[in-house]
C-alpha cells in the first residue's frame, strides 16, 4: 500500500531531476544547440499555440486519430479473423511476423509512392504501424482465452456474434488494450516522422523546418510537444483502459491506482 502511494512521487523524481540538470547544463554551456528552458518554452508557445495550433498541431492530431483508429479497427478485424480461424492463422503467421519487424518509417518512400502526397499518406503509415501489433495481439488474446469459456459457449450453445462480442472479445480485452496502448506511442512517433516527407504542415514538418533552419529552440519545442503529447495520450489511455477493465470486472473495483 505504501509502495503504491509513494510510486507517483518516485516517478516524478527522475524527470524533474533531469530537467533541472538540463537547465543547469544549458545555461552554463551557452551553446545555441542547447537553448535554456525559458527559451524553449517561448518557442513552444509561439510555435504551437495560437495560429500554430490550427496550422500544425490540429492537422497532426487529426491524422494521428484517423490513422490510429483505422489501424486499430482493421487490426481488430484481422485479428478476429485470425484468432478464430486456426488454419488461416497458421498460414499467415510467418508473413505477419515478418511484417511486424518492418519499421514503418523505413517504408515511407513506399507509402509515398502508393498513397501519394497528402494526409492520406500520413494516415496510411500511422495505420500500418498500428495494424500488425493490434492484429497479432487480438488473435493471441482470442486464442489464449480460458478453455472454460469455450466449454461454456459450447454447452449453452452460445454462438455467432453474441459469442464474439459478449464472451470472446471481452476475454481478449486485456491483450487488445495493452497492444493499443503500446501502439499509441508508436503512432505518435510515426506521425512525426511521416510528416517530414510530403507534408508542409504538421508538427513533424515544422520540427524538420526548425532543424534545417538551425532554429534549435523550435526544434526542442517540437520534441517537448511530442513528449507532452506522448505522456498525455498515454495517461489518458491508461485511465480509459482502467475504466474499461474495471467496468468489465477485470480489475478489482477497489483498486486505488496510482
Amino acid at each position: 500500500m505504501t509502495r503504491r502511494l509513494a510510486a507517483p512521487a518516485w516517478q516524478a523524481v527522475l524527470p524533474v531531476a533531469l530537467v533541472l540538470a538540463y537547465q543547469l547544463a544549458a545555461s552554463a554551456a551557452r551553446d545555441p544547440f542547447f537553448p535554456t528552458l525559458p527559451a524553449i518554452w517561448r518557442a513552444f508557445v509561439t510555435s504551437w499555440t495560437g495560429p500554430g495550433f490550427g496550422r500544425d498541431v490540429a492537422p497532426s492530431l487529426i491524422d494521428l486519430a484517423a490513422g490510429y483508429l483505422l489501424g486499430v479497427l482493421s487490426g481488430l478485424a484481422g485479428g478476429i479473423a485470425l484468432g478464430l480461424a486456426r488454419r488461416v492463422r497458421a498460414a499467415l503467421l510467418p508473413l505477419i511476423s515478418f511484417a511486424l519487424t518492418l519499421p514503418p518509417v523505413a517504408l515511407l518512400p513506399l507509402f509515398l509512392m502508393l498513397l501519394g502526397v497528402g494526409p492520406q499518406m500520413q494516415i496510411g503509415v500511422i495505420a500500418f504501424s498500428v495494424f500488425f501489433t493490434v492484429l497479432i495481439n487480438t488473435s493471441e488474446g482470442l486464442r489464449s482465452a480460458d478453455p472454460a469459456l469455450a466449454d461454456l459457449t459450447a454447452v449453452y450453445r452460445i454462438g455467432g456474434l453474441r459469442r464474439l462480442l459478449v464472451v470472446q472479445l471481452p476475454a481478449a480485452a486485456p491483450y487488445i488494450l495493452a497492444a493499443m496502448r503500446t501502439c499509441l506511442s508508436i503512432a505518435v512517433l510515426v506521425m512525426v516522422v511521416s510528416e517530414m516527407v510530403g507534408a508542409s504542415q504538421g508538427i513533424g514538418a515544422q520540427t524538420l523546418l526548425a532543424q534545417q533552419s538551425f532554429a534549435y529552440e523550435q526544434m526542442w519545442a517540437g520534441m517537448l510537444l511530442l513528449a507532452v503529447l506522448g505522456c498525455l495520450l498515454n495517461a489518458l489511455f491508461t485511465l480509459a483502459e482502467r475504466a474499461v477493465l474495471r467496468r468489465a470486472g477485470l480489475l478489482p473495483a477497489t483498486f486505488a491506482g496510482a
Partner: protein, 309 residues
C-alpha cells in the same frame, strides 16, 4: 417390474420407453506429451427421464471426464452416448452443465443477471422472459437482490449458486452437475439439495450429478453409480428406494439411509476389492437386466447390484 410401483421412482412409470440417457461402453484415453492415460475404461449405465442419478468414485476416477462426454464436450475413445436415442457428437440442445470450476465459467464482465440470461438470450428467449426466468432461478438459489452484482463481488459459494441458477433458468431436459455443492456451507448445501429434489416435478428435469459426498448422493438420488479407480468402470449401481418426499431430518434418520450410505462408502473406498466387481461387461448386463425387469427389487428398500463374474 416392481419398480414401477415404487413412488420414489416416478421415472419407472415410463419404463417401457427408451432411457433419456444411455451410456454404452464409454472409454476415454487421454493422450498427453507424457504418454497416454486410460482415465475411463468401460462405463455403462442408463438414466430414465425424471430420474436423479449420482456418480461417485475416488478422486481421479474420471467422473468429470464422463460428464464432459455426456455434455458433448469430449469425444469418447470408445463407446457412445445416446440422449433420447440420438447419439451425442457435440453439445446437444437442452443439456445444461454446472462446471466443477464454477468461477472460471462465470463471465466477470457480466452482472449476475447477465450471466444467467446469456444462454437464454442465445436461445432467442425474449428479454423480459429471460430476465424473469433468471430472477426466479436466482431467488430459488437464495440470491435474490444480487442480480446487479458482478461475480467477483460474490463469495465462492454464491458464485457456485449463480452457476446453478444459470443452469436452472435454462430449463434443460438433462441437467449435468459436477460437484455443484462442493464449496458451500453445510446449511446452504442442504438448502440446495432440497432445491434440486423438486426440480424434476417442477420442470420434468433429469439430473446426473457428480459428488464426493456419499450422504448427498444417497439423499438426492434414485440410483448411485459407483465408479472404480481408473481406468474406471462401473463398480456398482446402488438403487436408492427411499420414500419420497425426502427431507433432511426424516430421510437422513431413516435406518435404510444409514445402510445405503454405509454400502456406498464401502464401494467407493475399495471399489476394486471384491474379485467379482471388476468385470464391467457383467456390470452392463446386470444393469440392463435390472432395467428390463429381470432383476426383481426385493422387499428391502436397498437394491444393490454387484457385478458378477
Amino acid at each position: 417390474m416392481t419398480a414401477v410401483s415404487d413412488p420414489a421412482h416416478p421415472a419407472r412409470a415410463a419404463a417401457g420407453a427408451p432411457p433419456l440417457l444411455r451410456v454404452e461402453g464409454l472409454a476415454k484415453t487421454y493422450r498427453t506429451p507424457a504418454g497416454t492415460h486410460d482415465a475411463v475404461g468401460d462405463v455403462t449405465f442408463d438414466v430414465h427421464s425424471g430420474e436423479i442419478v449420482s456418480i461417485v468414485g475416488p478422486s481421479g476416477a474420471g467422473k468429470t471426464t464422463v460428464l464432459r462426454v455426456l455434455a458433448g464436450l469430449l469425444a469418447p475413445t470408445a463407446g457412445r452416448v445416446l440422449i433420447s436415442g440420438v447419439p451425442v457428437d457435440g453439445p446437444p440442445p437442452g443439456v445444461a452443465l454446472v462446471f466443477q470450476d464454477y468461477s472460471r465459467s462465470l463471465l466477470p464482465w457480466l452482472s449476475v443477471l447477465g450471466n444467467v440470461t446469456l444462454p437464454l438470450r442465445s436461445a432467442r428467449v425474449p428479454k423480459a422472459e429471460a430476465a424473469e426466468r433468471a430472477l426466479r432461478a436466482l431467488a430459488s438459489v437464495g440470491l435474490e437482490g444480487k442480480e446487479r452484482l458482478r461475480p467477483r463481488e460474490l463469495s465462492g459459494g454464491m458464485q457456485q449458486r449463480v452457476a446453478i441458477a444459470r443452469a436452472l433458468a435454462y430449463q434443460p431436459r438433462l441437467l449435468l452437475m459436477d460437484e455443484p455443492f462442493a464449496s458451500v456451507d453445510a446449511q446452504t448445501r442442504m438448502d440446495l439439495e432440497d432445491l434440486v429434489l423438486p426440480l424434476r416435478e417442477q420442470y420434468g428435469m433429469t439430473i446426473v450429478t457428480v459428488t464426493h459426498d456419499i450422504d448427498e448422493a444417497v439423499y438426492l438420488s434414485d440410483r448411485v453409480v459407483v465408479l472404480s479407480a481408473p481406468p474406471s468402470a462401473v463398480a456398482a449401481v446402488v438403487e436408492v428406494a427411499l420414500p419420497a418426499p425426502r427431507s433432511q431430518t426424516t430421510t437422513k434418520e431413516d435406518p435404510r439411509f444409514g445402510r445405503l450410505r454405509h454400502r456406498v462408502l464401502d464401494l467407493v473406498r475399495r471399489p476394486g476389492a471384491p474379485a467379482n466387481t471388476t468385470d464391467t461387461t457383467d456390470t452392463t448386463d446386470a444393469a440392463n437386466a435390472a432395467e428390463t425387469g429381470d432383476f426383481a427389487i426385493p422387499a428391502s428398500p436397498v437394491t444393490e447390484r454387484t457385478p458378477q463374474r
